[in-house]
């Protein structure tokens, strides 16, 4: 008996055929990977299954019976639980209340029975080996615990089918391991689990079936994963074999550091930070989630008070007061990990987003800005980055994640920064764009830009960085020269992190 059967589903939006005759079959007691690059149609498919979109043709059935949910609530009632990529918890409420938020009472004026609510929630927390009191306020939990609470929420609906959209995106490797143990147990209990991820290592670790989408079509339909290897899957995703980048070790420039921190302490909690990045150098900053890397970037940009130590730009001691100061006086740019919240203004055009850093420079004597002037400044960079957009006046929110990321890098290149801090450049980016961004970072460095790269993606770090600083608990734990020998380098990095834990 199939738990969830998607049969020949098609869906069009004005101008785009998002899904074309897509099928997928999920069995109870199986973990089924749903893979595809950004824009391949994964989200559309999930939205059709959960009733947010209705298919143009084709059917979805559960346990052999056709279903057509009108909304998420109906889907949940029908035994389909979804854990979305973004956190969907009310952080001011307790864990238990979050798990049972839609079942607080029979009608609007029903009294909430907290005692039995927390008893009920406890059951699901136990099932997930989550040792927290259901009365705990969610904002006190770690990101991983929140993730598990969301899974508990989906399970508490007696879901027989559980869809997880990038559940490990914000988890550390250890936390992922815990999550996988629980997923395996749920699988053994007969739950059908759908697993969307960009991390192929994870997919091969815990999935047994795989469906790959490419350009809205099945590249494969519910294949047995054990018959495939990594290369096969990548081939299906991008239509060609993955370019295994084995870059030659680069010559490290021996120029004087562009930015140097000595014994630096920030108001965010950083202590004793020593760091130097030279023009043309790519300095990696590795650490687990919560190590304080993005926070360090923000402190450098002047978003936190400097409590101790020294900051030097081109050898001169400086005080960076604000992001504007960092950009206009010291030539430091920051590509945020949170593209949607900090990187781009989604409602504005490509041109407005790309030109935002140089408005000040481009304004004419009267203070007026003209589109043509901005286009002259930003256009060449966008063309160089092979940005795919119908026009520079397109609203940037309508572009794919990869193309958005290109614009968020482009605006700093257009500004001609001397130091670019790039934070998690490939979160939510497909493999093709990711490789492209890596090339771009190298190209920038070759032209003399100093790059500070922050990433939790170990292969990316080893592929791109020249030298890697390991961070944990808001301190630098050690430095590793990157000879691009993946096993040795990653082992040394993890050594620094675990030495602290012991």
């Amino acid at each position: 008996m199939t738990a969830l059967h998607i049969s020949h589903v098609s869906k069009s939006f004005p101008g785009v055929k998002a899904l074309n005759d897509v099928s997928m079959t999920m069995q109870p007691g199986s973990i089924h990977a749903l893979l595809g690059e950004n824009g391949a149609g994964k989200s559309t498919l999930i939205k059709i299954v959960t009733g947010i979109y209705q298919p143009d043709s084709g059917t979805v059935s559960m346990d052999g019976k056709p279903v057509r949910f009108a909304n998420l609530r109906q889907a949940a009632a029908g035994g389909l639980g979804v854990v979305h990529q973004e956190r969907n918890l009310v952080t001011r409420f307790s864990v238990g209340e979050n798990i049972l938020l839609d079942r607080l009472g029979r009608n609007a004026l029903s009294r909430v029975d907290y005692a039995s609510l927390h008893r009920e929630a406890e059951k699901w927390l136990k099932l997930l080996d989550l040792d927290v009191d259901p009365r705990t306020i969610v904002s006190r939990l770690s990101v991983a615990q929140m993730q598990l609470v969301e899974i508990g929420k989906a399970l508490s609906l007696q879901s027989r089918v559980l869809l997880l959209d990038e559940p490990t995106a914000s988890l550390t490797p250890n936390e992922s391991t815990v999550l996988f143990r629980i997923l395996r147990r749920l699988r053994d209990d007969g739950v059908a689990i759908g697993f969307v991820s960009h991390k192929l290592e994870e997919v091969f670790d815990i999935c047994d079936r795989v469906t790959v989408l490419r350009d809205g079509q099945n590249a494969c339909d519910s294949a047995d994963l054990s018959t495939l290897n990594r290369g096969d899957v990548v081939q299906m995703m991008i239509g060609r074999a993955e370019r295994i980048t084995k870059r030659a070790p680069r010559v490290r420039p021996d120029a004087a550091p562009y930015l140097e921190l000595k014994g630096y302490a920030s108001g965010l909690g950083h202590r004793d930070i020593d760091l130097a990045v030279r023009p043309g150098e790519i300095l990696g900053l590795y650490g687990l989630v919560g190590a304080g890397r993005s926070e360090l970037a923000k402190a450098i940009l002047g978003l936190s008070k400097q409590l101790a130590g020294e900051v030097r730009v081109e050898g001169q001691p400086v005080q960076i007061a604000s992001v504007a100061d960092a950009l206009h006086r010291h030539g430091i740019g920051y590509v945020s990990e949170d593209r949607k919240a900090e990187g781009l203004i989604l409602m504005h055009s490509v041109l407005a987003n790309g030109g935002i850093t140089i408005w000040r420079r481009l304004a004419n004597a009267m203070g007026f800005l003209r589109d043509s002037t901005i286009n002259a400044g930003v256009g060449p960079v966008l063309r160089r980055l092979e940005l795919k957009t119908p026009s520079v006046y397109q609203t940037i929110g309508n572009l794919s994640g990869g193309n958005q990321q290109k614009v968020s890098v482009a605006k700093w290149i257009a500004a001609g920064v001397k130091l670019l801090i790039i934070d998690e450049p490939s979160v939510g980016i497909d493999i093709k764009t990711k490789a492209y961004l890596h090339d771009l970072i190298h190209e920038l460095a070759a032209q003399g830009t100093a790059v500070l790269l922050i990433t939790s993606d170990m292969p990316e770090m080893v592929d791109v960085a020249d030298r890697i600083l390991v961070m944990d608990g808001y301190r630098i734990k050690g430095a590793v020269e990157n000879d691009r020998n993946y096993d040795a380098v990653s082992r040394r990095i993890m050594g620094f992190i675990h030495a602290q834990a012991a």
Partner: protein, 330 residues
């Protein structure tokens, strides 16, 4: 276990009403030291009457603040209800209970109408209730032609101006009932929890299977009901169906909840804090009058008070963020 009790203790002192409560107390003590007449039975009666009406008004705004929205039409609903309440008694001779039911019904209907349009169109509540403000006020003026209704029965006048005993006005009774009701709503009823969930994180609430439309309509209906109750109370207190009732509710309806620790972005409200917010505003208004200080100073002080309150809220948020960052680092 010790840890848990510890956090409960800090929670108590972290409560939103502690600060405004202490300020209220200090203001009462301070003013009465200089003006013993401040604590006279008559003055307390006047203060409590004002506090009672203003608290119900503030609760009407509080429920919408909890949702993360605003209700600019609160006062115009109250005004429309007040003239309707007195009007149907004067023109049609409706008995008081029927007139009351009719008046409260108008408030609920007006609130539901705003709520329905907001939920249906998802246009910001600011705009919809701004339009509502004009429409309800227009209906009010169309009916009254800017002339008050005078036909307030003696029983109603007595309710608006009499005392249960000593300095305790009858108006306190509906206020206490409304306050307790709202406390239960926010802390114990499904709809109240859903309103706060929507206010904290609308996306999460929707993704959790909460019906956002129904929640919005409920909240505005409750707000309309409270506006109506305040309108009736004020008509009883003034002994007249005055068309201008509600015109001056807006500022204090936001000021009291904010002084009481509510976040305008939604999801966090305190009924007790709002009460002390109302008390502070009443005491300062009254106190400054007793010291013969110009009324414009009262406005400046009130403005300063709002700034102080949002400043405190902001400080608390920053502190929480810092603690979380530190926990992340540990």
């Amino acid at each position: 276990m010790g840890d848990q009790r510890d956090s409960r203790l800090t929670q108590t002192f972290d409560n939103d009403w502690i600060g405004p409560g202490i300020v209220s107390l200090a203001a009462i003590v301070g003013i009465s030291l200089f003006q013993p007449a401040f604590l006279s039975s008559f003055n307390i009666f006047v203060l409590l009457s004002a506090i009672s009406v203003n608290m119900v008004i503030a609760l009407g705004q509080l429920v919408i603040i909890g949702l993360g929205q605003m209700n600019l039409a609160l006062g115009s609903i109250g005004g429309l209800v007040a003239i309707s309440f007195v009007g149907v008694m004067e023109k049609f001779g409706l008995p008081v209970p029927l007139a009351l039911a009719f008046a409260l019904g108008i408030g609920i209907a007006a609130g539901m109408a705003s709520g329905y349009i907001i939920a249906r169109t998802m246009i910001s509540a600011f705009i919809i209730t701004l339009a509502g403000l004009q429409i309800f006020k227009g209906i009010n003026l169309g009916i009254t032609e800017a002339q008050p209704f005078y036909g307030v029965p003696e029983t109603v006048k007595a309710f608006g101006n009499g005392s249960v005993f000593g300095p305790i006005p009858w108006l306190l009774v509906p206020m206490v009932i409304a306050s307790l009701g709202m406390w239960v709503l926010f802390n114990r009823l499904r709809i109240g929890r859903h309103i706060l969930a929507m206010g904290s994180n609308p996306h999460a609430a929707e993704m959790s299977g909460i019906d956002p439309k129904a929640t919005i309509i409920w909240a505005h209906a409750i707000s309309g009901l409270l506006a109506a109750l305040a309108g009736v109370m004020l008509a009883a207190k003034l002994q007249i169906g005055q068309p201008t009732i509600g015109d001056d509710w807006l500022i204090s309806s936001f000021a009291a909840p904010v002084i009481g620790g509510a976040l305008l972005s939604g999801g966090r409200v305190s009924v007790a804090g709002t009460f002390f917010g109302v008390v502070i505003i009443a005491i300062i208004t009254q106190g400054l009058v007793m010291f013969n200080i110009d009324p414009f100073v009262v406005q400046i002080v009130l403005g300063g008070l709002i700034l102080w309150a949002v400043g405190i809220n902001r400080l608390r948020e920053v502190r929480i963020a810092r603690v979380q960052a530190r926990r992340g680092a540990a």
